[in-house]
Amino acid sequence: MAVTDRDAAPRYGKALFEVAQEQGHLPAVRDELAQVNAVINATPELMPALASKNLTKAAKDQLVALLTQDASELVAHLVNILLANGRILGLSAVIDDFDARFNAATQHVEATVTTAVPLTEAQVQAMNQALAKQFNVKTVGVTAVVDPAVIGGVKVQSNDLIIDGTVKTRLAQLRQQLLTN
């Protein structure tokens, strides 16, 4: 079976992580990759263009040069290798893989917190500490999302885990229970 971009991503992610670790540039590389990811997300036409058969190599090189103009040598090399190997569509997956390795090494977890009203600074702090204890890690990067539809309570989503204490879910459960009995 053909190796998909998703299957290949861990190979590149691991290599990149190890090189960055040896050179001691881990946090810098991570920030740069985050910027690259932001650019990719902001311009949805970019990746299809890079993967396209209709564009000449020179044109693609120009696009890559623009994408990596402020980046370090390491990140520029990564993008060039992926382009040369025909794996450019897997760039996001490689970045995800790198982030996962970086988070595991630094005992860090990213979590999305959804509430009905914006959290205060103190609440975010408390949430941070509680989640760090729950996930058994040193630091937690909280992304706060405000969604009035949850009515009340908090929903925390991190990787594959959802901790749901929102009023919306409880109402749904209550409804289910009343319907079954």
């Binding site: 885990l161 959802i162 749901d164 229970q177």
Partner: protein, 504 residues
């Protein structure tokens, strides 16, 4: 009005007490592909093999392929509302179906939900659909007979309780009729029947249910149907669900008869979903574990040891062949798993020999031990006689000068074939079977014209009912052949007074 409000509020309060104020902690994945009854999802790192998963539209799925970065899921139910990017969460349970006494007399789907429109099934018992079959020490050998009520089966390929006997043949050769007749004959036999219809037309299943109702057989039967319009996963799990329903009774010391109609369609459904799950295709494009699919299912049929209650589950799987080819992949697999097969031939069927059992190719590997003594005595050499008759018949087809011995053998053979014919849905109790086979093997039919044999048989039974009831009772109760002189006298007394209706 105020009292009513109060009533309602107390009711609600009561229900609210059951409602626990817990945080929901779910492990979720994201759907990356959905279609044709299967889905793939990333995440779900801790999902177990065959764990039940729930999609955001409420449908359930079963984890099948656990790969490094995604999970292949078969969807049990509606997959229209599932989209790429939806979440799918673990339930921590494995697939189970409702079981118990309340299922009897109902028509259910592969998930155990009623489809007969007779309201919900109130049972709180469930069993996982995949369980390990009873082991070596949990079993005992098959000793009790399972009477199918068909002379050709009970005499030639006897089936014991706890046996697995394959019914195999081309389309339209009467496979299902044998199974349905067997169910009908289990009336008052302390037997619970499970009829699993896999990929059978809804109209056919409806007709079978009506037949069973008409003969009062629904009182001890569960019908489980997974129709051709349902997605492949439902057809795949249907026999396991049926086996789980049967096992509940078997482990409670009861006797169960389960019919899988038919396993070739289940194999096709499993091939379909395996290919969609990107498992490597093997011979005839079936996946590598197609043998295991059937062997683990049929291994669950058993005769339990006395310590476990002595219950039994007899399995009659059905396989449809193409143009009589029993050496195709699935037929050979299932033949090697089962304890014998009943082979139905379309040539025999169309020449009017019904049930169209091919005596030469049909065997039963354990049932002989379970036959009652009287039947063993009268039918002992029937199979060989029939086989040699077929050979002789082919050999003498063009010759005219035959010696007396050959003539006699052909004569007896033709009558044997005639006696073994039986109309559909007319199962015969074992004592009558013994009586007519005794008459046959002792030469009482040799002088009767072949066209009159059916009439002779019917009138003999009526005569014996009024003049030899004690003899019939002996066979039924003791299983032994009664005093042969009395039996001879009875049959002779009837045969002397017999006149063909053609001459009347």
């Amino acid at each position: 009005m105020s009292t009513k409000t109060e009533e309602i509020s107390t009711l609600i309060k009561k229900q609210l007490e059951n409602y626990k104020d817990d945080l929901n902690v779910d492990e979720v994945g994201t759907v990356t592909y959905v279609g044709d009854g299967i889905a793939r999802a990333t995440g779900l790192k801790n999902a177990m093999a065959s764990e039940l998963l729930q999609f955001s539209n409420g449908s359930y799925g079963m984890a099948q392929n656990l790969e490094s970065n995604d999970v292949g899921i078969i969807i049990l139910g509606d997959f229209d509302g599932i989209r790429e990017g939806d979440t799918v969460k673990r339930t921590g349970r494995i697939m189970e179906v409702p079981v118990g006494e309340d299922m009897i007399g109902r028509v259910v789907n592969a998930l155990g939900q009623p489809v007969d429109g007779n309201g919900p099934i109130k049972t709180d018992h469930t069993r996982p659909i995949e369980v390990k079959a009873p082991g070596v020490m949990q079993r005992q050998s098959v000793t009790q007979p399972l009477q199918t009520g068909l002379k050709a089966v009970d005499a030639l390929v006897p089936i014991g309780r706890g046996q697995r006997e394959l019914i195999i043949g081309d389309r339209k050769t009467g496979k299902t009729s044998i199974a349905i007749d067997t169910i009908i004959n289990q009336k008052d036999q302390d037997m619970i029947c499970v009829y699993v219809a896999i990929g059978q037309k809804e109209s056919t299943v409806r007709a079978q249910v009506e037949t069973l109702k008409q003969y009062g057989a629904m009182a001890y039967t569960i019908v489980l149907t997974a129709g051709p319009s349902e997605p492949a996963p439902m057809l795949y799990i249907a026999p396991y669900a049926g086996a789980a329903m049967g096992e509940e009774f078997m482990y409670n010391g009861k006797h169960v008869l389960i019919i899988y109609d038919d396993l070739s369609k289940q194999a096709t459904a499993y091939r379909e979903l395996s290919l969609l799950l990107r498992r490597a295709p093997g011979r005839e494009a079936y996946p590598g574990d197609i043998f295991y699919t059937h062997s683990r299912l049929l291994e669950r049929a058993a005769k339990l040891s006395d310590k476990l209650g002595g219950g039994s589950m007899t399995a009659l799987p059905i396989i449809e062949t193409q143009a009589g080819d029993i050496s195709a992949y699935i037929p050979t697999n299932v033949i090697s798993i089962t304890d014998g097969q009943i082979f139905l031939q379309s040539d025999l069927f169309y020449s009017g020999t019904r049930p169209a059992i091919d005596a030469g190719a049909s065997v039963s590997r354990v049932g002989g031990d379970a036959q009652i003594k009287a039947m063993k005595k009268v039918a002992g050499t029937l199979r060989l006689d029939l086989a040699s008759f077929r050979e002789l018949e082919a050999f003498t087809q063009f010759g005219s000068d035959l010696d007396a011995a050959t003539q006699a053998k052909l004569n007896r053979g033709r009558r044997t074939v005639e006696v073994l014919k039986q109309p559909v849905h007319k199962p015969l109790a074992v004592q009558y079977q013994v009586l007519i086979l005794y008459a046959l093997t002792h030469g009482f039919l040799d002088a009767i014209a072949i066209d009159d044999i059916a009439q002779f048989q019917q009138e003999l039974f009526d005569y014996a009912d009024s003049n030899g009831a004690d003899l019939l009772k002996t066979i039924k109760d003791t299983g032994n052949l009664p005093d042969t002189d009395k039996l001879d006298a009875l049959i002779k007394g009837f045969a002397d007074g017999f006149t063909s209706s053609a001459k009347k």
